[in-house]
């Protein structure tokens, strides 16, 4: 009975939610879809993942409390959990953190120019060859356009760890691009 009453109270809180489902979709669906496209293996998976993530977010709108974080970090935690459930990401943040620490070799992030001959599909294909953790980082930083601090919040790691891990992912992506022989560093 207590659970029932709690449900009543939680459900009641929806009336004060500031973001409507339509507004949530209008403002964020594109970024959710971009992230989904980068972590999924193909368009069908991306469609499923984006739809599932948006649905969960809409259903969970009353659980969003501004005092506890930004809408971005709240939303993308849901999206990332969806991706994990779909098997598109590793389930343990610690694996990412461990790997980040191991690779913390002060990788200098050098600007890398992608030649104009590389098409979007080539680039997306290279992203999809990365391991799931790297895809998640690339997807959150460049697909969802989150700041490193937000990326860290979403993945449960520090901002600096997110920065380093993302740079490593970019380096790996560069390696993939070079491996498929389509690009080179332009001087």
């Amino acid at each position: 009975v207590e659970q029932v009453v709690r449900i009543v109270a939680r459900a009641a809180s929806i009336t004060d939610t500031r973001v409507t489902p339509e507004e949530l979709c209008r403002r964020h669906a594109d970024r959710v879809y971009r992230f989904a496209t980068m972590v999924a293996d193909d368009k069908n998976q991306a469609d499923d993942l984006a739809q599932e993530a948006l649905e969960r977010a809409i259903r969970g709108l009353d659980g969003f409390e501004q005092a506890r974080g930004t809408l971005d970090s709240w939303l993308f935690r849901i999206v990332v959990n969806c991706a994990r459930d779909a098997g598109r990401m590793r389930t343990r943040e610690s694996a990412l953190l461990d790997r980040t620490k191991r690779l913390f070799v002060r990788a200098v992030h050098s600007p890398y120019q992608v030649p104009s001959g590389v098409h979007d599909l080539d680039l997306l294909s290279a992203v999809r060859q990365l391991d799931p953790r790297q895809r998640a980082l690339i997807g959150l930083r460049f697909g969802a356009d989150l700041e490193y601090q937000e990326v860290g919040r979403v993945l449960g790691i520090s901002s600096s760890a997110a920065t380093v891990a993302t740079h490593r992912a970019l380096a790996a992506l560069r390696g993939k691009l070079e491996a498929i022989g389509r690009t080179g560093v332009e001087k």
Partner: protein, 352 residues
């Protein structure tokens, strides 16, 4: 002209298919869904789902998993011999279905270390039911002592329409009814299972199991609407009574004193978290029991198995209520809204 890698990633031409948003909105606004695991985490998720389903209104939904006291005597006597694949008639009774209603299927898929076997399907205008066996375990009713898996997923048809799950525990899973062009064309459905949920346990197993099958939608039976009911100054109007197999679904609207009283109790807590103080909780509970927790009994007074029931409380509007229960077959059944109902405030539902 070359671009920085980061810039290229940011400007990748990825266009969101417009149907993604509409599907998400549609799926999220589907009726409140039952989730079986009673852990606090799942209760929270359940509450949030309900929150939006109520679309800005206060809502509650009480799911009543087969508790011993609710199990009618007839089900105890039913033989447990398989009638559809490994599914016994006892398991089907839990779903309110007869063996003859089930279309047998036999598909197996393995992922995440678990094997799922689709053994039967059923569809009508009220629901679509799939019978999925997990790891060869027998189909059993949910139990606190045995580890029975429920599936967590959704269906899609060949036209891309997505059907949310509406009922999970026990030997099968129910989804929203088939709709749209798939009704006339014949539905080719894909079952997407995203997780296995041990009933009454928290250790959900995530995975990705998919099985495609065809099914024809049967009509659900409609029953003529009973006359309105008055309990004190509260008035109830029936809006639909439908039969799906042996499952009876009743929907109604309520207005009047108890509704106003509920609004007053809940209004003070809109937007508040955590729950109201115990004294208010107690008042809400009492009001629910008296006016909004319905039941169906047979003519002998035996309560039928309640599957789920609940109500939503749109601000300034009538309460919208729903009840689902499994009856034992054709006959006359008595519907009662709550403990405050007097003998003249009950209605007969005739199942043919």
């Amino acid at each position: 002209m070359s671009q920085l890698l980061e810039e290229r990633l940011r400007t990748l031409d990825i266009r969101t298919p417009p149907e993604i948003v509409s599907r998400a909105l549609t799926a999220a606004t589907s009726p409140p869904q039952y989730e079986p695991a009673p852990s606090s985490r799942r209760t929270g998720r359940y509450a949030r789902r309900l929150g939006y389903a109520a679309a800005g209104i206060a809502a509650f939904l009480i799911a009543n998993v087969a508790v011993a006291s609710f199990v009618p005597a007839y089900s105890q006597a039913i033989a447990n011999a398989p009638v559809v694949g490994p599914v016994s008639s006892q398991a089907l009774t839990y779903l309110g279905l007869q063996p003859s209603a089930i279309a047998a299927r036999d598909q197996t898929v393995t992922a995440s270390g678990h094997t799922l076997r689709l053994v039967g399907v059923y569809a009508d205008t009220l629901r679509t039911v799939v019978l999925v066996q997990v790891d060869g375990r027998p189909f059993e009713e949910p139990s606190k002592t045995t580890k029975t898996y429920g599936i967590d997923g959704y269906l899609t048809d060949q036209f891309g329409h997505r059907y949310s799950q509406t009922f999970t525990p026990g030997p099968g899973a129910a989804f929203e009814p088939i709709t749209g062009p798939a009704v006339d064309a014949g539905a080719r459905l894909t079952l997407h299972v995203k997780g296995l949920m041990p009933t009454f346990k928290a250790d959900r197993v995530s995975g990705n199991w998919e099985m495609t099958f065809t099914v024809t939608r049967q009509p659900a039976g409609n029953v003529s609407l009973p006359a309105p009911v008055h309990i004190g100054d509260t008035t109830y109007i029936f809006t639909s009574v439908r039969i799906s197999g042996d499952l009876v679904e009743v929907r109604w609207l309520a207005t009047g004193g108890s509704v106003d009283q509920m609004h007053r109790l809940m209004d003070g807590y809109y937007g508040k978290n955590p729950a109201p103080p115990p004294s208010v909780q107690e008042q809400i509970r009492g009001l629910n029991q008296a006016y909004f927790w319905p039941q169906i009994t047979d003519e002998a007074g035996n309560r039928v198995r309640s599957i789920q029931f609940g109500a939503t409380y749109p601000k300034g509007k009538p309460v919208e209520g729903m009840y689902q229960g499994v009856v034992s077959g054709p006959g006359r059944y008595i519907f009662t809204f709550g403990s405050a109902a007097t003998s003249d405030a009950t209605r007969v539902i005739e199942v043919k």
